[in-house]
């Protein structure tokens, strides 16, 4: 495999070299022709022998040119044959294709304008700032005809700056912000450590359209933006708050079966079944209960030339269990006891709708989650004393976008304007959690690899004035 790839790259280099030599010879010939033409007009008689020499030189060059052209054609033929052999060997499962590495990153510029005296004035950052939000690298491999794998890693400067604790003098709590700076004792250089987030890592087996399997850590197949993953793909800058708040787990560790049926021309019926650890305090390491989370997605799509329509729903039931372990005795024998400290069941329903027609895009997502406790923890400090009651979370947004018909002037560059309205209620037992956020934005794609976005969002709580803030954000998202 390596040697075949090496031969391919060698042949490509040789082919490029042949092209350069050809270009050089063409240049020489043109120069000679031009100088020959001017010589004819002012040619002295004694220059006849020189003209003969030039003629011979030209003829010689022409034969070299012809021979190089033939070799160049041979190289092209060989290259084509090697490419075909490589493809053939891959398709015959004789070899893998190696790893393909690609990814995306984005840079934000953000400024929040909060209402004086509102809670957000204290919570939101006061200054404008640049942020490197995502730097995601993909490692994709195709091992056999039907077996592939993908690993997506997100590199981040975090946890630098993570605020562990606000100062709360009444409770005697001091402000605590994480500093990741370390010292290289050899060079005395100080630098800040970052982090790596595993966004997904799974193997995929795709033997036939109606039945495929994924095993590993996979993206939860709910909604639109969680599947159409990544800032260069997404129209808006921010993912909807339902994603930010993880109302549905963004990814799950387990297995996923999926498939597609074709009930009519251009019409797909997709299903996905997920079985995973579900949510837990350490679900990406291990499950702390025997109840595996299960989910089912059904989606019907129509993929016409001018009109594309899709509607889907994902249902999920899973248990969250937290435990602690305590030493119960040392003498006469060592004993450890496990105690469940928190347990709840999540019932989730997520629905999505997408219509694309004649430059318009209308999409909506809605998530409903009921959290029912069997062992309640004490309530969050912000939400008052007592224990956490069962609660409902509701999130939804609608987005309308239009790609301006500017092909005549912009060629393949696109400008898409959009408006959206987002509703979020993480816990319906707490008024503070109900927010509305209208967003107005523009997305300019100067090439397929780059997206420039600008959006203005106004976030406000419905029940009172505690959250009121304008957020202006610009983003440059680049795929590579």
């Amino acid at each position: 495999m390596m040697s075949l790839t090496h031969r391919l790259s060698h042949t490509r280099r040789a082919s490029a070299l042949a092209r350069m030599i050809l270009a050089g010879l063409c240049g020489t010939l043109i120069t000679l022709r031009l100088s020959g033409g001017s010589a004819e007009t002012s040619e002295p008689p004694e220059a006849a022998s020189e003209a003969e020499a030039i003629k011979a030189f030209k003829a010689n060059n022409q034969s070299k040119f012809d021979s190089l052209e033939t070799r160049f054609e041979d190289f092209d033929g060989q290259l084509e044959e090697l490419e075909l052999t490589l493809l053939e060997s891959q398709e015959l499962e004789e070899t893998d294709t190696g790893i393909e590495i690609y990814g995306f990153f984005d840079v934000l510029f953000l400024k929040a304008f909060s209402k004086k005296g509102s809670l957000l004035e204290g919570l939101a950052w006061p200054s404008s700032t640049f942020i490197l939000q995502n730097l995601n690298l993909y490692f994709a491999g195709q091992m056999t005809r039907t077996l592939s794998s993908i690993v997506e890693l997100r590199f981040t400067f975090r946890p630098l700056g993570d605020e562990r604790q606000f100062e709360f003098s009444q409770l005697g709590l001091a402000y605590d912000r994480l500093d990741t700076e370390v010292d290289d004792q050899l060079s005395n250089e100080h630098f800040r450590l970052g982090g790596v987030v595993i966004e997904r890592a799974h193997v995929t087996w795709e033997p036939i359209d109606f039945f495929n399997l994924i095993a590993g850590y996979y993206l939860t197949p709910y909604g639109i933006w969680n599947v159409e993953h990544g800032s260069p793909v997404r129209l808006s800058i921010r993912p909807p708050y339902m994603q930010i708040s993880h109302v549905v787990p963004l990814a799950q560790l387990g297995v996923m079966a999926y498939g597609r049926f074709f009930p009519a021309a251009r019409t797909y019926l997709d299903y996905v079944v997920t079985v995973s650890n579900g949510r837990g305090p350490m679900d990406t390491i291990m499950d702390l209960d025997e109840n595996k989370a299960v989910g089912l997605k059904l989606k019907l799509s129509y993929n016409g030339n001018d009109v594309k329509l899709a509607a889907g729903g994902y249902g999920y039931i899973g248990d969250y269990t937290d435990i602690k372990r305590a030493v119960t005795s040392v003498f006469p024998s060592f004993g450890v006891r496990q105690e469940v400290t928190e347990n709840y069941t999540e019932y989730l329903g997520a629905f999505d709708f997408l219509l694309r027609a004649y430059g318009w895009r209308l999409q909506a997502e809605y998530v409903w989650r009921l959290t029912r406790y069997s062992l309640r923890p004490p309530r969050d400090q912000m939400h008052g004393p007592g224990y956490q009651p069962d609660y409902l979370s509701i999130f939804g947004y609608g987005l309308l976008a239009y790609t301006l018909p500017l092909e005549r002037w912009l060629d393949q560059k696109t400008i898409t304007t959009f408006v959206s309205l987002e509703y979020s209620n993480l816990d319906e037992t707490v008024d503070l959690n109900t927010t509305l956020m209208p967003i107005l934005g523009i997305n300019f794609k100067p090439s397929e690899y780059v997206a420039l976005k600008l959006e203005a969002a106004y976030i406000h709580t419905i029940h009172d004035d505690s959250f009121r803030s304008w957020i202006l954000t610009a983003q440059l998202a680049v795929a590579f």
């Binding site: 092209d76 084509e80 490419e83 075909l84 493809l87 053939e88 398709e91 015959l92 393909e100 690609y102 995306f104 993909y138 994709a140 195709q142 005809r145 039907t146 592939s148 993908i150 995929t204 795709e206 033997p207 036939i208 359209d209 599947v227 159409e228 993953h229 990544g230 260069p232 793909v233 597609r260 074709f262 021309a265 251009r266 797909y268 993929n303 030339n305 393949q412 794609k445 090439s447 397929e448 690899y449 795929a479």
Partner: protein, 150 residues
């Protein structure tokens, strides 16, 4: 009753033959774009909607279960442009964007590109490609679709 003259039938037959000939000539225009599949593919006809599905990897297997291997001709050729426009309904940039999105979403890669698609389709099991009719070799690959004229 008056009998129809013989020369009327003759003219009718000649006209019919001419029509048939014109039709056949049109059907076998060497510049036609024909969609070809590997001999192992049992499907003998595809629709334009299915073609879109195969070349955009929305359909990954043939009805008999074997994997579909779509093969494109090289970029920046009139054949590729015509196929992209008439079958996929896309421009080059739109197609590139589509594959970039698919790669980020699911890791699916765009189909390989080769100059001689007849040779490639002949050699690779489950392959589907396209070429001009003049390049088609009978018995080597099977034609499953002829692109209608623009």
């Amino acid at each position: 009753m008056r009998r129809t003259p013989l020369h009327f039938y003759l003219c009718l037959t000649l006209f019919g033959a001419l029509l048939l000939h014109t039709d056949r000539a049109r059907a076998e225009d060497p510049e036609d774009i024909v969609v070809i599949v590997h001999k192992s593919v049992a499907k003998k006809e595809v629709t334009i909607a299915e073609l879109q599905d195969y070349f955009l990897k929305n359909r990954l297997s043939w009805p008999d279960g074997q994997k579909v291997v779509p093969i494109n001709v090289k970029e920046d050729t009139p054949l590729r442009d015509a196929f992209r426009r008439r079958v996929l309904g896309m421009t080059a940039t739109q197609e590139n964007r589509y594959w970039l999105d698919r790669k980020i979403q699911s890791g699916h890669k765009k189909p390989p590109e080769l100059g001689n698609t007849v040779k490639a389709v002949y050699r690779i099991k489950g392959a589907i490609g396209y070429t001009y009719r003049k390049n088609y070799k009978e018995g080597v690959v099977t034609i499953v679709f002829v692109l209608p004229k623009e």
